[in-house]
Amino acid sequence: MPTFVYMTRCDGCGHCVDICPSDIMHIDKTYRRAYNIEPNMCWECYSCVKACPQNAIDVRGYADFAPLGHSVRVLREEAKATVSWRLKFRDGREKNFESPIRTTPWGSIKGPAEYAAPRPEDFARQELAHEPEALKTDKALPALRPEQLKRGVA
């Protein structure tokens, strides 16, 4: 189900070019609007559809399993931290979904580089970096002991 762009809505800002994980959203050389250069390589991640500030990108279902007349559109509202979906079926039925996409303010989550570098002895531990405090728990995490690993071996 590759994406396509409503040319009259697109203003060529480049957000979809920036976010596309397949690098297939490009700017058209004649009209300076975004377009999908290789629909076969689109993996329908909907990243560009959600990122487009003009809601100019839509997804076209293949005619064999998504008959003409259906619609799947999505609205991402950053300030509300929600993503809303509207599914229209060919027979007129409609379904609406609304999901939160985060519960903390934008920019409040530290990036990996903002944490202290792990010490050499940390590499021998079973916990991942910054566990357990990063999981917001004071308790020690369950861990496998070496003798447990040998159980069952004759």
Partner: protein, 253 residues
């Protein structure tokens, strides 16, 4: 320099009638080019078909007028559709500069006014176009850096902006040289006329026609919100706004 009509000084070598015919010819070219563009791309048919398809809720005449006014004031006069502030400012500078530049050119060619306001508006409009246009072309337009393209790469999409910038740049240089009675003025006048002809004659191949179809698209968008279809988009979520926007400028890797 800023108070003299640069076209008046051309009266010695060019008949005012020739210049007036040229301006009319450019207007005709824009009109013909736009009509050709509408027919060729089927844009008017596209908008009308969309309108017919999306009549789920009746929108009465008063509401239509209100939508038209909002489209004109917010989307057209204030470039309200731009989500990026830099792009919006550059567009406003270029748009109002172009209006000032074209109107003052026509006034100066047709009536040779004695008031100095028109040449000043011509210079102001030209400088606004240069500021907004060069800012856009060198710094704002989207380029895919990963493809290693030169910032000076030219493609068909640049036809409108570059012919506009060439027309205005050469026009202002010509006016400056003419005010200083420099010998090179005639060369720049020739280049100015060439670039201007390219700008107005290339409507079917450039994005010049966006000044006509973009307002239509903005109107259609507002209409789709008024009649409830919203282009099939879901309605706004029933949640309070709490996190603000964290949208970053695209980096176009």
């Amino acid at each position: 320099m800023f108070t003299n009509n640069p076209f008046a000084a051309l009266g010695d070598s060019w008949s005012p009638l020739v210049m007036q015919v040229y301006v009319v010819l450019m207007i005709v070219l824009v009109a013909a080019g736009t009509l050709f563009d509408i027919v060729h791309k089927g844009s008017a048919r596209y908008f009308l078909n969309n309108w017919r398809k999306t009549k789920s809720k009746h929108v009465d005449g008063g509401e239509l007028v209100s939508i038209a006014v909002k489209t004109a004031v917010v989307d057209v006069l204030a470039s309200g559709e731009f989500c990026n502030a830099r792009r919006r400012i550059a567009h406003l500078l270029t748009m109002y500069g172009f209006l000032l530049y074209v109107i003052s050119t026509a006034v100066m060619v047709f009536s040779y006014p004695t008031a100095s306001i028109w040449p000043q508006l011509w210079w102001l409009g030209g400088l606004m176009i240069l500021l907004g246009g060069y800012w856009f072309w060198f710094f704002i337009r989207v380029d895919v850096a990963a493809e290693g393209n030169s910032p000076f790469r030219i493609m068909p999409a640049d036809l409108f902006i570059l012919s506009l910038l060439a027309s205005v740049t050469l026009g202002l240089i010509w006016a400056y040289l003419q005010a200083r009675a420099s010998a090179g003025a005639n060369v720049f006048f020739g280049l100015y006329v060439f670039a201007t002809t390219v700008l107005f004659a290339s409507v079917p191949w450039s994005k010049f026609a966006h000044m006509f179809f973009k307002p239509a698209a903005a109107f259609e968008k507002r209409l789709s919100y008024a009649n409830g279809t919203r282009s099939n988009l879901p309605g706004p979520a029933d949640k309070p706004e709490q996190f603000g926007s964290a949208r970053e400028q695209p980096r176009n890797y």
